[in-house]
Assembly symmetry: C2
Homo-oligomer: 404 residues x 2
């Protein structure tokens, strides 16, 4: 018979967000009238904005005409979109040839894990977005799970806590091939400064590591001087890939569109090109994002689209401010929520899954337990700001009514 | 420094179709006025049909409204679409829980290769769709490439030739964990009969192998009695996964939509569920097909959509008939082209890449060299029927003008 892939067997539990959905569903079965508010998964709720939406309509219409129809697209994604991303978002710090259009950051990270394979050692921030870890387990880049430590063997977990201002002590970290780094951070909402990213780039250069920089929340940065891209750091193109997404900026979580930048100067030990291997991966086991959807991305980078994008981001940022202000007033120790759509909240004296269950059962509010993001998340809850305003306000009322 | 993934290094040359595009581009640079006709890649050319197109328009409009907006979708894809696929296309032989919506067969096959991992042994038909082989190389399931044999070590190449009516001699094949099988076949156009598929299922049962059955061209079957799904064979659900796509039936090559069926009774040696691991893969490194696009798939399975689908398929089948008839009249030995959108043509006394180049340079017709599908394709060319009618007629005229 066929043996189960031993790496699949290593995975501890289900993927975080389906697990949360299952527990929410269980509550609703027990208590069908409960009006549950989700501040859990980072799932957008605002409708698509008019200019971007009408671009999708136009694109669909065109596909119904002889002149406007197209089948398989350009190899790395629609050339016009790659050029526009390079120009509008990177201002020349990335070439359009280095941009690859994807169906979102998550599947792109999955393909990247295949690119580097089972032999690539890795470090993650702890806590971190679960895909860095789970995807690495699946391709065999880790050892077994240690239930006690809540860690997979051979992953370096770089602890990020309020104490170190959520930036790891790099001097204490061993060398790894890959370093996953997310800023603005999911889940902590911390944003790395230019100096911190410079340290990270220097560390990678010194160790000849490759940084996989997740900038999916870059547009939430409002403070001047905070870098929106790793490529704002001189020399970063020699050591960093950047992953990004249209999910949280124009509400494309379900519509699916993202991109990554793989610089041409990035090489392996044998001198061969990372970019070339990445092109081979994407042309072989991927067929590009939907052509229809790519037209929406193109519109998002027009002047009108960028204005709408800012409105969407501002709406969720106001949500974040409301949640953070309420939690602060209730005496919680909170982080993030500014320059980032997540609020990271310390829950004193409780395990995060227990606090999570209490909040769900007593207040019918879904959050995300910090422990779901790695052992470094224990004792925290993540609040997402992607809900509807009325739900956010209702959740805040419920929180205030009686203390947790 | 970071070592190159040794499996990436094993890959011989680029992925087939980008390679062809590069050679076509080179000709156009040399001869800019050439009107090149593509009968190469299986890329659709008919515009989207009205009913399906208007469903995409409606879906885009809805995403712009508060009531109609949605973010991340259901775990395995839109429930309504999974239910409709199960009902309309499988008539109860697959349950909606066993259907997973994808962004197309190619990326789904890539994820499947990750599912089974590096230790899974495999057999492919030879010739075959290159993704079965290349994707397996990438995840490390093969040995090195043997330039002389034009084969990767440890893949079982099941030769399919006119002599064995394109069905391998299973008795002569060693056991493998996975058997990739495509019917109607890409590239040969051969369609397996019920008896042949029963043999295949029996062989898999006896060896406790898993068949990955690629049914992407099933709707091209017109002859009664030829199976459109492996699940028409009793007991197939114990041994087979089926992969399928909306690309070639409703012109979604660029729009991106497909599905697969992973039966619940499929288990590994340790008794654990393949379905459960597949769910874990798809929720962890995939985020579903675009919600917008899934609405198009839903419309395609309405009565109006199915009528349009038939019209689209009939158009390409008529193209296939035109190409096949012309090639037959010119004295070529042809296969497929009925119940299948590909015509497989023997080129006597020539290497297929040489014949391919001649056809491109002398007649400005792009086909696909048989050798690109594996050593068993040497000496053949594949003609695709997905061109526009006027181009197909023009190509046929050019072919007739003087013999190749």
């Amino acid at each position: 018979m066929v043996k189960r892939n031993p790496h699949m067997a290593k995975l501890s539990g289900g993927y975080l967000f389906p697990e949360i959905a299952r527990r929410k569903k269980a509550l609703l079965e027990k208590n069908p009238s409960a009006k549950v508010i989700s501040l859990g998964i980072g799932d957008t709720t605002l409708p698509l904005t008019p200019y971007i939406c009408s671009a999708l309509l136009d694109a669909a219409k065109k596909l119904g005409t002889k002149e406007g129809y197209s089948g398989y697209g350009d190899e790395q994604g629609m050339t016009a979109l790659r050029e526009k991303i390079a120009k509008v978002l990177y201002h020349g710090s990335a070439d359009s040839d280095e941009v690859f259009i994807s169906d979102g950051a998550k599947p792109d990270l999955g393909r990247m894990q295949i690119l580097f394979g089972a032999d690539a050692t890795l470090a993650v921030q702890d806590p971190s977005y679960p895909v860095y870890v789970d995807g690495s387990v699946i391709v065999g880049a880790t050892g077994p799970y240690n239930q006690k430590k809540q860690q997979y063997a051979s992953i370096i977990y770089m602890r990020c806590t309020p104490k170190n201002r959520f930036f790891p002590d790099l001097a204490a970290q061993p060398r790894t091939d890959l370093i996953y780094f997310c800023s603005p951070n999911n889940p902590t909402g911390a944003v790395a400064t230019k100096q911190q990213l410079k340290k990270l780039v220097d560390f990678a250069k010194q160790n000849r590591s490759i940084i996989i920089f997740d900038a999916a929340y870059a547009e939430y940065i409002e403070e001047k001087g905070l870098p929106k891209s790793i490529y704002e750091i001189p020399g970063a193109k020699e050591v960093a890939i950047e992953v990004n997404s249209f999910s949280k900026t124009i509400g494309f979580t379900g519509v699916r569109l993202g991109w990554c930048v793989v610089p041409k100067q990035l090489v392996y030990e044998d001198g061969s090109s990372v970019h070339k291997d990445w092109n081979r991966i994407t042309t072989t086991i991927f067929n590009g994002a939907s052509n229809l959807v790519q037209r929406g991305g193109l519109a998002a980078l027009d002047a009108e689209g960028l204005t709408e994008m800012k409105q969407t981001v501002d709406y969720y940022k106001e949500n974040a401010r409301i949640i953070k202000t309420a939690l602060d007033a209730l005496g919680f120790e909170t982080y993030g929520g500014r320059n980032a759509p997540y609020i990271w909240v310390r829950i004193k004296g409780k395990k995060s899954w227990d606090a999570w269950s209490e909040l769900l059962e007593q207040k019918h509010i879904v959050t995300t337990p910090g422990a779901g993001f790695g052992p470094g998340g224990e004792g925290f809850l993540r609040f997402s700001s992607f809900g509807r305003r009325e739900d956010v306000l209702l959740a805040v009322e419920r929180l205030k009514r009686d203390k947790l």
